[in-house]
Symmetry: C2
Subunit: 349 residues, 2 copies
DNA sequence: GGTAGGTTTTTGATTGATCAAATTCGGGGA
DNA sequence: TCCCCGAATTTGATCAATCAAAAACCTACC
């Protein structure tokens, strides 16, 4: 069956760089160049080789390539178990976009799991030592994060979705790392301004306490807008509330704030907003955060995070690092989210 | 700097099978055997080699291994963009479990995306041709699915979460493929029986139309339980409703069915159930489907899919196929979901 | 003591692509 | 006409592991 191992296309065997070369009447290196350095080939040769590649259905072996180049063209992403029903979507969208965009650049995303920081560092070691992945995309930042340091020390490219925590700079020994984040403050500020324009003045803020920073950030925008509108601190304090993230918690908070005279709510998450919406009924105006499908379904105005852009940046950042430009400090960005106005943006009656 | 390329442990270079061999005073093949066929080594030699592996920190190169064995120890999973806010969680949990369990078996999960069937077949070709992945785990089945055929014809192991559609058998040329699914009918039957026990008799069904089968399946369980309880067909028809999946749709349906005399609802998804809960208020009893975090947060009784088990089966199935046992027909399973009772299971007052 | 038979270990070859260096090819310029 | 130089292409070696087959090593039995 395989006694005819000559250069023509052997049915059973998958095409290799050599078989394609034979088919196009060139050497294997020329085929390799056609894929990696097309400009080195004479236009005519290039065309011929590409044609041969095309109709042999050749796909180059990632393993062989990786072996020679010490590159895998794979990015690692840690998949966490689900936490919040509605908000989990955010990272889901991020991951999908990252994966889709990576494919466009010839990269793929590989998952790993870890239930502790130490476990994650072990994964780092296993994944990088064999060069199974080229870079990491981290999304769940927390205080005293060991991961940046490990990756920096081992020279592994990585990008972070989520700004560093205050006080983390010292941990990160080789200086600041590249990160991108959503300017939650700008988002809630826009939401608050929007409600102010609709005539509301007693705008309550329903925030959450998680690890801290994200919730605080979103509060800041509301606070600033309210202060800018001349609402005195005392009143602002009465309109401010914090609790765990969740639908029920949002409903409770909304009831409390309604008693305090609120006519509209800016919420730090769609979960909270859905709760507020159900508790406050059709009278009050509500704006959520994340623009989840649930928000769209319920006609809930919400602040939309530009996740596509964030994913694109993360990809671009790690690719740049992989391609040698190791000084990516200073390229960090803060993205401004967009307010999506829907039926729940009711004017003050 | 690297003029000393002899066999002893060179600091800068990562350990290879040869460097470890030199360190342990054996040949490279012996090191390979220590990892892949430990029983072939003399206990004493094995111990010495393992020690060398251990303190050199050696990890074997996935690429080199893959090249020789034509195995990658990677599973492929298609990551779709999010559709429904609440229900999307189901697959998220499935994926996380799959990934975590796979790691336990030395496998990893790689993502790919595709926005059409043709695109997915192209991905199949690209991923399998280079043996970048060993198997596929498919989750979103639909009518006239070309994927089974392609994978079967090309001898690629795969497992399916979701039963084949009626009429699909002919499409799949080499006979039935292995699949696992949740017995939605059993789930809604249990939910209905539970509500009947609480004294309800006019139990409405809020179902959805998607691609068809899943929704129908879930309706069947309700229908059977109701028929078993002696509710006449005419009345059943009045208590039955179908619409698109979503919170608002669920609320609308609940209102309609309340008018028809319903005192309790069995819903085909948590989204619908959340809607029904909001529309029907605290009087009616509601049971959802999927046991999403949202259901837990709202105190919504729901039918819990045993996703861990499904993921475990899918993994076991593809691993068995990879390890040669190509006759996996007949190993398909239908898992019985569990009813989780919460506050929304109110007795008939 | 020699050798058959089994176990343990080693050597040689291979996987597919790419880097580095060598070779061929063409067009000016002397 | 010959030689040199740059562009285009080819050859040789290599990446790190594993398979297949050969070699070394025992043990036991005639």
């Amino acid at each position: 069956m395989d006694q005819d191992t000559t250069h023509s296309a052997v049915p059973g065997h998958r095409p290799t760089v050599s078989s394609v070369a034979a088919m196009a009447g060139v050497s294997r290196q020329t085929v390799s160049n056609a894929l990696n350095n097309p400009e080195r080939l004479q236009p005519e040769t290039l065309k011929r080789v590409l044609a041969a590649i095309d109709d042999s259905g050749y796909v180059r072996s990632a393993a062989a390539r990786q072996m020679r180049t010490a590159r895998s063209s794979v990015l690692a992403y840690r998949l966490d178990p689900i936490r919040d029903g509605i908000g989990g979507i955010v990272l889901d969208t991020f991951l999908h976009t990252l994966s889709a965009q990576a494919e466009g650049q010839g990269y793929r995303v590989m998952l790993y799991t870890a239930d502790s920081d130490e476990a994650e560092l072990r994964q780092f070691a296993a994944l990088t030592q064999t060069r199974a992945v080229d870079a990491f995309v981290l999304v769940d930042t927390h205080r005293d994060d060991q991961r940046y340091r490990w990756l920096s020390e081992n020279g592994v490219p990585y990008a972070v979705f989520g700004r560093p925590w205050p006080g983390d700079e010292e941990t990160d020994d080789d200086g600041a790392h590249a990160w991108i984040d959503i300017d939650g403050s700008a988002g809630t500020a826009a939401a608050t301004a929007h409600l102010l324009e609709l005539g509301h003045r007693n705008i309550g803020f329903i925030g959450y306490l998680h690890d801290g920073a994200t919730g605080d950030d979103r509060r800041r925008g509301w606070e600033a807008s309210m202060a800018g509108a001349g609402v005195p601190p005392r009143q602002r304090r009465a309109l401010d509330s914090s609790q765990r993230d969740g639908i029920l918690e949002g409903a409770d908070a909304a009831r409390r704030l309604l008693d305090a005279g609120a006519t509209a709510f800016v919420c730090a998450s769609d979960s909270l907003a859905v709760g507020a919406l159900s508790a406050a009924g059709p009278e009050a105006a509500v704006v959520g955060f994340d623009d989840s499908p649930t928000a769209a379904a319920l006609g809930l105005s919400s602040v939309r995070q530009p996740l596509e852009e964030a994913a694109g940046w993360a990809l671009g950042s790690v690719l740049a690092q992989i391609d040698g430009a190791h000084s990516t400090s200073g390229t960090s960005r803060l993205l401004v989210p967009q307010l999506v106005v829907r039926a729940s943006s009711r004017p003050l009656s």
